[in-house]
């Protein structure tokens, strides 16, 4: 009665499913603070999954990836985001560009699309967990959708960050991790991006008194006085 597939691979499948669920939950979430919590959960699941892959395939360098993920995505970035949210006093976001049920519908279509896109690619990969490639691709697509359908700036940034999460998961499931150089580079890019964006947000807030991106559309060149 005990399953024949090793526990490790079952766990990876489970984590993949939870990742997809979290991507959908972020799509539907209205409160910005909960968004950041969901992002933390995503980072945590990602770290766990990397650790399990490291254990089952005996690749100790993935433990360093796990540590990096934990430090960056579970601790540092959320702390920066929470600080930003408190300083900018952005708590709620009302309806995005499209209402939530329609977004969910588009999300499901994207999931089906990604699954089908990933099928031939996952035939090429040589890992046992290659079927989770479709899920990783789907969560990247969903994060992109989140970026598109949001009005305020911080959820867009969180969408961008969770895209990177999905990418990382795709890498670990299809190729058992990326070279450390690539990984450090990507992590550094993300960190620098966050810092710059944080500075930008204050500037935007100063100029427009709000982080609602609809205000950008009314910007025109000031005529010379």
């Amino acid at each position: 009665m005990i399953s024949t597939t090793p526990v490790g691979f079952q766990l990876i499948n489970l984590f993949a499913a939870i990742l997809l669920l979290l991507a959908f939950a972020m799509l539907a979430q209205r409160r910005v603070v909960s968004l950041i919590d969901l992002f933390v959960a995503q980072g945590f699941v990602l770290a766990l999954s990397t650790a399990v892959v490291a254990y089952t395939t005996n690749q100790p360098h993935l433990y360093q990836s796990t540590a990096l993920t934990l430090v960056l995505k579970v601790a540092l970035l959320p702390w920066i985001l929470h600080r930003l949210v408190r300083k900018l006093d952005v708590r709620w976001e009302f309806e995005g560009l499209i209402n939530i049920p329609t977004t969910m519908l588009i999300g499901i279509v994207l999931v089906v699309f990604s699954f089908n896109l990933a099928l031939p690619i996952s035939q090429l990969a040589s890992t046992v967990t290659r079927s989770t490639l479709g899920i990783a691709l789907a969560s990247i697509m969903l994060s992109f959708l989140m970026m598109i359908t949001r009005r305020k700036a911080i959820p867009q940034v969180i969408g961008f960050l969770s895209m990177e999460n999905g990418l990382f998961f795709a890498a670990t499931s299809a190729t058992y991790g990326m070279p450390m150089v690539v990984e450090l580079g990507v992590a550094l890019d993300v960190l620098v991006g966050m810092l710059i964006l944080g500075v930008f947000f204050f500037q935007i807030r100063e100029q427009f008194d709000s982080l609602d991106l609809a205000h950008f559309e009314n910007v025109r060149d000031q005529p010379p006085r």
């Binding site: 209402n99 049920p101 329609t102 499901i108 089906v112 699309f113 699954f115 089908n116 099928l119």
Partner: protein, 668 residues
């Protein structure tokens, strides 16, 4: 003459001739009401004869013949095979009660003389029967157009009212757009050979993009008559405008002739089916179903509600056909058979259910002269027979076991669920999503039907004039009871019905759903008993048994005392009939959840209004989005073309002269 004396085809021709004769007789004494009523009863008896003939023909091999009428080199070809026989049986079964009802329904002084209505009605029936047995394109188009024309006159029976004239015009317009597409489809199907008989078309093997062109022209053309998106706009206008028996006939039978045409072209005349046709038909059908049912939820006119419900059911049928095409193209014959059976069963069910409901609304209309849901209510006390039959129809359309609506829904869900891995992988994943959409449409249909029945028959009367309502006459009651019993029969004995439908499956896709020699008439298990099964008679018997045992047991163990008092209503002292839900109120949750579907204009009162007024107008986005721009474009082109008209003879003569010179010059 067939080998056994009087063949089925001769029988059908005799029925058609009888109907035409009845119609012409009606013209002789147009205002004699009793004579016309007797004629309608005669028409009903003829319909019963048609049912018998069709059921016999269902089990025989196909027969064809040629009539000496028609064009010189294209006489009328007739053919009756299993598909025609099934639809003829549907026509007869639905029509007999409707004719019986009409004999009690039509009264003098409603715009058209009863005898004229009799003629138009029976011409309509005769044309529909001819469509179903036509075996060449010419006869098909002649019968199709006669059907459209006869029904146009029936729709505009009350032609003194301008809205009804407008509805009739829209109906005729879209019918002609569809007929043009069907004609083009036949043109594609004959494949350049010039042989417009169906047997000729069957032997043509089209290549390249021509089969797809043929299929899509057929889908467009027959979809216009059936009420598929976006050609559905005539349905909610024409059905309320027509008298109720005519609406019943149109919804119950005429829409099914379009389904017949689609099936005939797709599975019989075209020699192959492609999988992506099935996907498009499935998507279009599901969108139509969702759209129809969501709009039905916000209607305040009882006949418009039923019209939108018809759109939903047609959507379900076309979705089932799409699924059958998909499976057939992927060489899964058993599943294609199940999907096709679901489509045909649903068509049969809908003929009964919708006719029943339209006839019930006819009785309500006669008794109360009210069509708006906001002015009805509490009619179960005044019209118990109509209410009881309408309850059966409501439960059936809502898809509840053990009635017939559930059987076709069950079959369709089985076909969806047992989708194997198809070669097109994204279709494999899309099919469960399609099942979700179908289930959603069916759930909203239950909501809509509770609204329909509850607002009309239950509760308190919303107008004091409803106290004068009376129950339907004897003939109307008989017709309603027959239709209700039909719904019950179709629900409790599905295996027997599927035995008949299997003949059509054998004809179209060369498979049968029930295995040969299947003898257990209680159990419906299309794939295997262990996979899925349904025994409606047992479910029905168990529920009835439990109800009876409970009633008796409670009376024995405790008691059955009852007394009447005022309604409790949580102790509120003042209760009027206006405090119930209106039709808009009952549909408001659906309107709120499905807001993107509608175009809504609302007028809310402000706190400072002396006479506060709330108005909400829900309209069809297709009308504003597609039809109005097309109409404006047509008007613009027409006004440009109208510049030619100078009304001076000299100009016209000059133009003719120049044309003559040009032709002589170029035709040298």
């Amino acid at each position: 003459m067939g080998p056994n004396g009087f063949g089925a085809l001769e029988g059908v021709a005799a029925v058609v001739a009888t109907w035409m004769a009845i119609g012409v007789l009606g013209l002789l004494r147009p205002r004699d009401l009793r004579f016309v009523r007797a004629l309608f009863v005669g028409g009903a008896a003829t319909a019963l004869a048609l049912v018998a003939i069709a059921l016999v023909a269902l089990w025989q091999p196909a027969q064809s013949t040629t009539l000496p009428l028609g064009l010189p080199d294209l006489p009328f070809h007739l053919r009756i095979d299993a598909l025609s026989a099934l639809f003829l049986a549907m026509l007869g079964c639905a029509n007999a009660p409707i004719s019986l009802y009409s004999s009690g329904y039509f009264r003098a002084g409603e715009g058209t003389a009863p005898g004229l209505i009799c003629f138009q009605y029976h011409a309509f029936l005769a044309a529909m029967a001819m469509v179903l047995v036509a075996d060449d394109a010419y006869l098909f188009m002649v019968a199709w157009e006669s059907m459209a024309l006869a029904s146009f006159f029936l729709v505009t029976t009350d032609h003194r009212i301008p809205e009804i004239r407008r509805a009739g015009f829209l109906y005729l317009l879209i019918a002609h757009v569809g007929a043009t597409a069907i004609l083009l489809c036949f043109g594609v199907l004959q494949g350049g050979r010039g042989d417009y008989t169906f047997s000729g078309m069957r032997s043509v093997a089209l290549a390249g993009a021509w089969p797809s062109a043929g299929f899509f022209l057929a889908l467009f053309g027959f979809g216009a008559k059936a009420g598929l998106l976006p050609l559905h706009v005539w349905l909610p206008e024409a059905h309320p405008a027509a008298p109720s028996p005519v609406s019943a006939l149109m919804s119950g039978v005429m829409l099914k002739t379009a389904i017949y045409g689609l099936l005939r072209v797709t599975f019989d005349l075209l020699h192959l089916q492609l999988w992506w046709w099935g996907v498009i038909a499935l998507t279009l059908g599901l969108l139509t179903a969702l759209f129809g049912v969501v709009f039905a939820a916000v209607q305040t006119d009882m006949k418009r509600l039923l019209a939108y419900s018809s759109i939903e059911n047609i959507g379900v049928i076309v979705a089932a056909i799409g699924l059958a095409i998909l499976f057939q193209a992927n060489a899964k014959p058993l599943l294609a058979g199940i999907a096709l059976t679901a489509a045909l069963y649903h068509a049969l069910n809908h003929a009964f259910m919708k006719s029943l409901l339209f006839l019930a609304t006819g009785s309500v209309l006669h008794a109360t002269r009210e069509r708006s849901l906001g002015k009805l209510g509490g009619l179960i006390h005044k019209m118990p027979w109509v209410a009881a039959c309408a309850l059966v129809g409501t439960l059936a359309i809502a898809g509840l076991p053990p009635l017939n609506g559930f059987v076709s829904e069950w079959l369709l869900l089985q076909a969806f669920l047992f989708t194997p891995s198809l070669p097109q992988s994204f279709v494999t994943m899309l099919v469960p999503l399609a099942a979700a959409a179908l289930v959603l449409a069916v759930a909203v249909a239950a909501y809509v039907m509770v609204k329909f029945y509850g607002v009309i028959f239950l509760g308190r009367p919303r107008e004091s004039s409803l106290a004068n309502a009376h129950d339907a006459g004897r003939r109307e009651r008989a017709a309603l009871v027959v239709l209700a019993l039909g719904c019950l029969f179709l629900g409790l004995f599905p295996v027997n019905v599927i035995g008949g439908i299997d003949r059509v499956n054998a004809l179209l896709i060369a498979t049968t759903v029930l295995p040969a020699g299947h003898s257990n008439w209680l159990l419906l298990a299309p794939i295997a008993t262990g996979r899925s099964s349904y025994m409606p008679l047992i479910v029905f018997a168990v529920i009835i048994a439990v109800v009876l045992i409970t009633i008796v047991a409670i009376r024995r163990v405790w008691h059955g005392r009852l007394r009447r008092a005022n309604a409790w209503d949580c102790g509120y002292p003042l209760q009027t009939a206006r405090m119930q839900d209106t039709a808009e109120g009952f549909g408001q949750p659906i309107r709120q959840v499905f807001e993107p579907f509608f175009r809504m204009q609302r007028h809310l009162p402000s706190p400072f209004d002396e006479r506060p007024r709330y108005e909400v107008r829900v309209s069809d986005p297709f009308w504003e989005g597609i039809y109005v721009p097309i109409a404006r474009g047509a008007e613009r082109i027409a006004s440009v073309a109208g510049l030619i008209q100078h009304r001076r003879i000299g100009v016209y003569l000059t133009v003719s002269f120049l044309t003559l010179i040009a032709l002589l010059f170029f035709g040298r």
